[in-house]
């Protein structure tokens, strides 16, 4: 197997995730897209770990999974809060930072 096939797959997944983050209006769906991105990174970590025969890659993939879980927890909490305040989780309405 080539290293590159995994890396390219991860890149594709990453870009799809980016696309999702950019277009989705639903906060929930944005969070899902973020998960795709994180998973793409994980593939990279594990692939490089396999390339160098180093266990570090896996360890960090595990850490990433843990962090992702935390991130989903917080993210969902924010989405819930937003829903409670606005009765909507449409991100296009969230423009407090408008200049």
């Amino acid at each position: 197997m080539l290293l590159n096939q995994f890396l390219l797959l991860a890149a594709a997944l990453f870009c799809i995730g980016v696309y999702g983050v950019l277009v989705r209006k639903n906060g929930m769906l944005v969070l899902m897209s973020v998960e795709l991105i994180l998973n793409a990174v994980n593939i990279n970590l594990v692939a490089f770990g396999a390339l160098t025969d180093d266990v570090g890659g896996e360890v960090f993939a595990l850490f990433t999974i843990a962090v992702a879980a935390a991130e989903v927890g917080i993210g969902l909490a924010i989405v819930l809060l937003m829903y409670r305040n606005r009765r909507s989780i449409d991100l296009s309405e969230a423009d407090l930072m408008k200049g």
Binding site: M1, L3, Q5, N39, V67, I74, Y83
Partner: protein, 177 residues
């Protein structure tokens, strides 16, 4: 891209099965991922996400990291997706067609994505064109655990604290008062 294909075909006689398997997984994963970001139904999106994440887990197995694959299935498919589904229920967000996304926004995002992919692909092919992965045997779980609790003990502790903080944070943020 040609060089990749050429390399794959050279390699074909050795690990044909793995490569075929990889191809199937990759195609289904990418399709699932695309569905995640394009479907208009939130619940469908969550379910397509399961497929994509499972594909990732399969990739981990291909790479010999069984423990990570298992964790992936447990944490992601078992917990995160369920969490998502709960979130969908709690917010009662419209399950149907809510995604009236403007065309311009889509094309903008598509351009960004393709651009990003182009750059990354170029860089990857440029850098790692010939590197091969030789997976003799799966990684031992003991090795993983040993290094977590020796070499990576401090990051591990940090992650624990982070999880705790996230837990408290999530409660504080979502608390209804």
């Amino acid at each position: 891209m040609n060089s990749v294909l050429a390399a794959v075909s050279q390699d074909a006689d050795i690990v044909v099965a793995q490569n075929v398997f990889f191809g199937v997984i990759a195609v289904s994963m990418l399709y699932a991922a695309i569905r995640v970001v394009t479907t208009s139904n939130v619940v469908h999106a969550a379910l397509w996400l399961v497929v994509a994440l499972a594909g990732v887990a399969a990739n981990f197995i291909l790479l010999g990291s069984e423990f990570v694959a298992v964790t992936q299935v447990l944490v992601y498919i078992g917990a995160v997706v369920v969490l998502f589904l709960f979130g969908v229920m709690l917010t009662r967000a419209s399950l149907g067609d809510d995604e009236s996304v403007a065309q311009e926004k889509r094309s903008m995002a598509a351009v960004v994505g393709v651009l990003l992919f182009g750059v990354m692909a170029f860089a990857l092919i440029d850098t790692w064109s010939d590197d091969r992965l030789v997976i003799d045997e799966p990684q031992q779980v003991t090795e993983v655990s040993d290094s977590i609790f020796s070499q990576y003990i401090i990051p591990f502790e940090a992650i624990s604290v982070l999880l705790l903080a996230a837990l408290i944070g999530a409660i504080v943020v979502a608390r209804q008062d």
